[in-house]
């Protein structure tokens, strides 16, 4: 009796749709650290215009300064404050990945679920996604820049496209698994239209894996964005992004190592933070 009750409770937790369960991920040590870093960096980025009302482009004669109270991160070759520029750069980087990754996940999920419309369509879509997998993210980004020119939009587009296959495959796996489950058969016998079955009885089961996947792609997105900017194909100066700062700083790496160091540290920090969040979500979602 007691054992069967605890079993029921446990399996119930798995099926329960409550958000509480995912929030539980943020009570684990990894989740707390990851979320705290994301929140602090996110707030700094969001409030950048308030914290630094002068903006990132104020020049001065003090070029390539080291660390000081006035300029905690030092200054660049035009005497611009690197802390200000780093935070404004972070703002752009976060803006790009926080829009591109969710869009990519949603589109990818839809593509993966297209197999529900017809078997053949699903197969064709998967082969299309295979082609995307064939291109490393940066190479794909460079191809897109060749066509569209440099700027933030190619970065955005590259992240969206490279994220599609993972989301598409994961959601297809869910579709194939759920399609033959009895609750879906039960809905079919009731005569529920196919689109409603997809929406109500299959799509909700993609949420767990997609949350984890999104957190993973945040990390990858950070690197794609920075990578394109470092080689000068991303966001164009004078607009700062972390990649742009790295690109600039590399030239002065011996005179002012702090120029590269701090933007790079921030970059690593976001990647680690999203990595932690992804881990925490994954462990929570797969806990039995």
């Amino acid at each position: 009796m007691t054992t069967s009750m605890t079993v029921a409770k446990r399996s119930g937790m798995r099926g329960s749709p409550s958000l509480r369960r995912y929030l539980g991920a943020f009570r684990t040590p990894k989740g707390v650290i990851g979320a705290a870093i994301v929140v602090v960096l996110g707030l700094a980025a969001l409030l950048a215009p308030v914290i630094f009302p002068a903006g990132p482009d104020v020049q001065s004669r003090d070029a390539l300064l080291g660390i000081s109270w006035e300029h905690p991160f030092g200054t660049d070759e035009f005497g611009r404050d690197l802390l200000t520029r780093s935070i404004f750069g972070l703002r752009i980087d976060l803006l790009i990945i926080l829009t591109a990754v969710p869009i990519s996940m949603v589109l990818g999920t839809l593509l993966g679920l297209s197999g529900a419309i017809s078997e053949r369509l699903g197969d064709i879509v998967q082969r299309g996604l295979d082609v995307i997998v064939g291109f490393p993210g940066l190479i794909l980004g460079i191809c897109i820049v060749v066509v569209l020119g440099a700027g933030w939009f190619p970065i955005f587009l590259t992240i969206v496209i490279t994220g599609l296959p993972s989301a598409g495959r994961l959601s297809r796996a869910v579709l194939l698994r759920e399609r033959d489950r009895e609750h879906v058969l039960a809905a079919r016998v009731l005569g529920v239209p196919n689109w409603k079955i997809l929406l109500r009885h299959i799509a909700p089961f993609t949420v767990e894996s997609m949350l984890v996947n999104a957190a993973v792609w945040m990390v990858i997105g950070v690197y794609i964005g920075a990578g394109l900017s470092i080689v000068g194909l991303g966001v164009q100066p004078p607009t700062p992004s972390l990649g742009v700062l790295l690109n600039g700083g590399m030239r002065y790496i011996y005179q002012a190592p702090n120029y590269v160091l701090f933007p790079a540290l921030i970059l690593v920090l976001i990647a680690v933070a999203f990595g932690f969040v992804a881990d925490a979500l994954n462990e929570t979602a797969n806990k039995r």
Binding site: M13, L185, L190, G191, R200
Partner: protein, 543 residues
């Protein structure tokens, strides 16, 4: 217990086992259980799921889950307390002196290792050399009734049927000539005819080898058929014990009586024939279903089946696993395509199962699944699931809530069930919800696909009563599919016996059970473990 002169082989005294839960919680699942098994005796431990019977067996073998621990008691095996010996000693006892047979032979055997090798491995672990192991393997395979042991030795588990696999598992258990065999629901995953063979085998092994058997089961019929003594467990406690014959004929504990009463009695009167036979709702002619594509090479699961179901009538469909009964029912509701034949609903042909056909069909034919937990979307509340059924059937638009409450009351559930999720209910309650959902469309025929097979026997009886009541009130026609002959007998007006995709015999319940014509039907009927066996033997012994 029944006065054996020498000391019993196994003596469990005041055994208590508990599980550590979250935050220091501790649940006792086996509470003060004592029993004896004499050498060569068969003790049945019977109880419903969660009664602690499997945990008791595992405690004897010291194979409990890490979170479980024995809190009290002793287990004496030939005078040696198993709970105190070293792990090394225990390992040598397991497999040599005591062996275990599990419920599912499929998952007990390693799928990628040949049968012979799996048996030899056990022999060699306990010190046999290669040639002895080989010879003993052949001997064992022959002993458990596998024909042509030399060939069987080289085969893989998937090449064997469920019953053959369970024989192999028993052969492995017997490999080192143990004196005690613990069998945990050894026949639950098997068909009734195969079950009879495996039980025969166990009895034979006891007679020939003199091994003692601890047989765990939920099935009183199996106990009656096989055991000398029985221990009835309920919520971790022993509620009744004694020789099978006296427990079954004169149960002293109310729980035992309830268990016995819940078993459909094969001598009770049947429901007779249906009073209404006028309104034929569903008519099927020469239906064929081919699995694995419609092209050549598919498996013919349903092969020329014809049937009809009228309002107020139950047609029982009985057959063993793989006979095609589920494929048939799935074809009837369009979950599988029909290869040929016709399905008519009130005379209208719906075989093509286009959108219009499906709509007509789902208005009057609904389906209840075997596993109610799997057939309810775990992320949706009962209210949402019922609302979906109501909305889809188009029977109600303005007051779905009131209609849902009404449906729940029909199946005997309180209205506050609506806001809960499927996991919050017990198996029987979930099946009630499954039935309520099927009733939402106001159907004329329900297809019930093993609706009580996943439930404990006392719950089974309640759900069957509900179904009979609903049939009488609403005039529903049932196609009742089951592998369980006693369940079929208690609810059906007419019965069809299916084998290998074909209907082999058909008739009224009384005719079919009292005077079966086909050899297969006779074999099925004679395989059912019956309580009467035990009752009859006691009576004759007493005289």
């Amino acid at each position: 217990m029944i006065g054996t002169p020498e000391a019993p082989l196994l003596q469990a005294r005041n055994l208590s086992v508990g599980f550590a839960g979250d935050r220091g919680a501790f649940t006792t699942v086996v509470d003060d259980v004592s029993f004896d098994i004499a050498a060569g005796g068969i003790l049945g431990v019977v109880g419903e799921s969660g009664s602690g019977k499997s945990v008791t067996a595992r405690a004897v073998l010291r194979m409990l889950a890490p979170s479980a621990s024995v809190t009290n008691g002793s287990v004496l095996f030939r005078g040696e307390n198993l709970l105190e010996v070293s792990e090394a000693r225990m390992r040598s006892l397991r497999g040599r002196e005591m062996a275990m047979v599990f419920q599912d032979p499929q998952s007990t055997l390693n799928p990628v290792i040949r049968i012979g090798q799996q048996i030899e491995e056990v022999l060699r672990i306990h010190g046999a050399d290669r040639t002895t192991a080989r010879r003993r393997t052949l001997e064992l395979l022959e002993q458990v009734g596998i024909a042509d042991p030399e060939r069987a030795r080289r085969r893989y588990p998937h090449e064997f049927s469920g019953g053959m696999r369970q024989r192999v598992v028993i052969a492995i258990a017997l490999a080192n000539r143990p004196s005690l065999l613990i069998a945990d629901e050894p026949t639950t995953a098997l068909d009734v005819t195969v079950q009879a063979q495996v039980l025969d085998l166990l009895r034979e092994m006891r007679k020939e080898l003199g091994i003692a058997i601890l047989l765990i089961t939920h099935d009183m019929g199996v106990v009656a058929d096989t055991c000398d003594d029985v221990l009835v467990m309920h919520r971790g406690r022993v509620v009744e014990r004694g020789p099978v014959a006296s427990v079954l004929t004169k149960p002293e504990d109310p729980y035992t009586s309830r268990l016995l009463a819940a078993i459909p009695d094969m001598s009770a009167p049947t429901r007779g024939s249906s009073s209404e036979t006028d309104g034929r709702v569903l008519e099927v002619r020469d239906l064929r279903t081919v699995l694995g594509g419609t092209r050549r090479g598919g498996h013919v699961a349903v092969d020329g089946v014809s049937l009809s179901i009228s309002r107020g009538e139950t047609l029982g469909l009985v057959g063993e696993s793989g006979c095609g009964k589920s494929s048939l029912s799935k074809t009837l509701v369009g979950l599988l395509p029909a290869a040929s034949g016709t399905i008519r609903l009130h005379g209208a042909d719906v075989t093509a199962m286009n959108a219009q056909d499906r709509r007509t069909l789902s208005d009057s034919v609904q389906y209840v699944f075997q596993d109610p937990l799997a057939s309810l979307n775990p992320r949706r509340t009962i209210a949402q699931s019922l609302a979906e059924a109501l909305e889809t059937s188009g029977t109600v638009s303005e007051e779905p809530h009131e209609r849902s409450v009404e449906l729940l009351q029909r199946v005997g559930l309180p209205p506050d069930s609506l806001d809960r999720y499927p996991y919050a209910f017990s198996g029987g309650q979930r099946q009630r919800i499954g039935i309520a959902r099927a009733l939402a469309a106001d159907p004329e025929v329900l297809i019930l696909d093993e609706p009580v097979s996943a439930l404990d026997v006392s719950i089974q009886a309640q759900v069957l009563d509900l179904l009979i009541e609903l049939q009488e009130d609403l005039g529903l026609g049932y196609l009742f599919i089951s592998h369980d002959l006693s369940v079929i007998r208690s609810i059906s007006h007419r019965v069809m016996v299916m084998r290998a995709g074909r209907i082999v015999e058909e008739g009224s319940t009384d005719d079919l059970f009292d005077d079966p014509q086909e050899p297969y039907t006779k074999e099925l009927l004679s395989s059912i473990p019956r309580l009467e066996h035990a009752r009859k033997t006691t009576r004759s012994e007493k005289r």
